[in-house]
Amino acid sequence: MQYTKAILISLGTISLIWALNRSWGSIPAFAPLLSPFVGFWQNAESVNNADEEITLEGTKAPITVIFDDLAIPHVFAQNDADAYFAQGYLTARDRLWQMEFQTHAAAGRISELVGDKALELDRYNRRLGMGFGAEKAVKEMLADPRTREAIESYTAGINAYINQLSPSSYPLEYKLLGYAPESWQPIKCAYFLKYMSGVLALGADDLNMSNVLKKYGTVVTNDLFPDYPFREDPIIPTGTKWDFAPVKIPAVPANSQTDTKPLAMRWPEHDPAIGSNNWAVGPQKSATGYPILANDPHLTLSLPSIWYQIQLVTPTMNVYGASMPGSPGVIIGFNKQIAWGVTNVGADVLDFYQIRFKDASRREYWHDNKWKPVTRRLEMIKVKGQPDVIDTVLYTHHGPIMYEVGQRPFASNVPVGYAARWIAHEASNDLLTYYLLDRAKNHDDYRKALSSYSAPAQNFVFADIAKDIAISPNGRFPLKWKDQGKFLLDGTNPAHDWQGWIPAAQNPHVKNPPRGFVSSANQSSTDPTYPYYINWQFGSYERGTRINQRLTAMKNATPDSLRVLQNDNRNVRAADALPVFLPHIREKDLSDAQAKALTIIKKWQYNNDIAEIGPTIFTEWMRQYMDGVWKDDFPGNDSTTLRYPSFDRTLQLAEKDSASHWFDDLTTPAKETIGQVLTKSFQSTVDSLTRRHGPLGESWQWSKHKATRIGHLARLDALSALNVQIGGGAGIVNATTERTGPSWRMVVALGTTPKAYGVYPGGQSGNPGSPYYLNMLETWRTGRLNELLFLQTAQDKNPRLKRKLTLK
């Protein structure tokens, strides 16, 4: 009896401990998580301004790090290796989980952490050739002694931090997901850069366009999907002379189109909200006579913050700016002589080739009238709690065949039997560009730095203290015949291959244009006089047009004028479209509520400010109007996906050809007109908004409707910033949409010492338990910037400098 009791109670206690010590599905191990000794409590931080000294293996000389009141580190090292070591150490200290999670995602290793629910996602990233590309990239980066030193020191710094950790000091997310950090490897830096290429250079409409072509033929396709928009204000100002003799451009082959069966593919189309703004005003427009530069890259907003501010001072450089956790050096920033920034180009650098195999064994494929061998790459996917999965991917010289006939593609239908040719598969040392920019002193250095850059192609804006300003849509651009890759390509025909590259020196660029400023907002890189084909579609014209209007008018610019422009909420699309559309509305057909909404739209000043109702109605209306015009003509289904013409083309139709047959709804016997489509879509917009928000009133206000969300990377709402009240929107200079927006805003005024300002929606720390996790959000939301402290020596005095860390 005594035995039984003793055994039962003891066993019960042990079982309880066991049950509390392990995770159950997505429920974390409760006891270690709740224990104040090792659990999340240990991640709670308070403001600490005490100096520190840490002894680490791997430094060459003592490194001094000064932290300011926003916990931004200013690193003073006696050599470059130590600076990158410190950057690795400090970034890991603030962002280790984020760095590792993003590189795990790119490497297709999420299943290791969360089990088989991520298996298809992992398979997708691997089949895309992320590993294939990263392996090539890391070889290039390690082949150059400069980037080798940066990568290896950065890696050593990260590992020095990881080696200090014990389970109680793991970042919170490891405790929640129940795993431990692994040591950092140089290839992870390459994975990070591939991850960015995946975010910025992976959009493709090739298959949708092929399906459109199949349905409507060349004339209609060219008419509705033109290679240059109706309204446009390109990055390189119209009229700029090309100062080079172009190389020979491949001729368009006789059979430039593949004989494709209509195929379903919901490839992630280019997301128009992922774009960016940058510009620089020249001396004639600036109050000080020195250039001022601004940049705000728009990405899917996430927490921990996408960027990590840092200042790196060594005998070879003194650079300040935004770095990306996972990559050494500064990506967007300034030094004493220059400032630079980037926006995405959106070049057509992903194409799909139809592959013809010899037989079912898929060991050879037909190309250039020969059978060529297929290589196989084995992808070993570890899955939490299950045996490893081995996935075999077939590679042709074009690239990997993402899904073979008979395979079920990830989540939606990716083209089966097609090889993906993607710029991120090329060996390149993109890091070198940033390494050189961090140290650049003038326009020549900037041009040299850009020449080694490959992907994701960026519009690099530049300004320096010699009062030069410049911009260049820059990257490695395949030398293509016109429209090569607008549609699917034929993998058997060598004329369809990428045939070399546009020479880097002939990438579009302009220096000190007569208008006194340079700018980009993802619109067309050039006007149609540029001899090469980069893409047939770019980001739409609105932001670029607005920025150029404002900069044209600007005189005596100060950093504040540029800050105000970054927060500009003018809705150019509405200003262009409403005067065209409103006269077509049949007001007598509207209900009282609809008429009230129309009055609001009519009175609206085209500003996407927080409390406006106009943008809510306009945005929803235009979405429904696009469906109203095109849904019947381009009906997508499971076997064939199509796409609509652009908004620009649709607006042009209303202006130039308002009686067009495209306005007729083919699904009804009656013949509809533009007025009917506009009225009907307006009515249903008001009805659906009423259903969603109740009767017209405060609940319809733009920021409430938009409810901008900055989500935590692990999709945990409790660690996210939800329902952030801010204006702006897609196509607005203040490009804050529901999920995307300015991930970093920077303004730099050059001069004897540069004056710089910046902010991101989050904070320096990635730890949700830190007071620096979200402390910049309110500054960002209200459109203000923090001054960036550009220190000259570790002894500089400033009331905002709070503490010192010595790494030995």
Binding site: Q2, A6, I7, S35, F40
Partner: protein, 124 residues
């Protein structure tokens, strides 16, 4: 009372260096060593651990602002109640401590009762 104080102090020291479940070994050991009844064993194990967990958690919560603990409450319990995490933590730790103390007591009873039970089984 001595048991409770001993469990509190020793489990605190153990958890500074060892995994969280070392608290169970401490409670077990102390109650094995001495305890005057099953109820008291459970109570001293429960309170000894719960008090340490509660006080330590509250100290951290007061030292940092409550925002983070609120977020964790939201994450774990779907309600932003800043006292909940500390409360649940101390109940959980207490439960394990109490049961471990109870186990210690009963195992002690069993081993002490050994000769008697052997006799009993022989006589059966």
């Amino acid at each position: 009372m001595i048991e409770l104080v001993l469990i509190a102090i020793l489990s605190l020291l153990a958890q500074l260096f060892l995994p969280w479940w070392s608290l169970a070994i401490v409670a077990f050991g102390v109650c094995f060593w001495r305890s005057s009844g099953s109820g008291r064993a459970f109570l001293s194990g429960f309170l000894g651990v719960a008090l340490v967990w509660l006080i330590y958690a509250l100290l951290i919560q007061l030292r940092t602002d409550g925002v983070f603990v609120g977020r964790m409450s939201e994450l774990l319990f779907k309600t932003n109640t800043s006292v909940l995490p500390a409360l649940v933590a101390c109940l959980l730790g207490g439960l394990v401590g109490g049961l471990a103390g109870l186990s210690g007591y009963f195992v002690k009873q069993a081993t002490r009762a050994q000769p008697i039970s052997r006799t009993a089984s022989r006589s059966r």
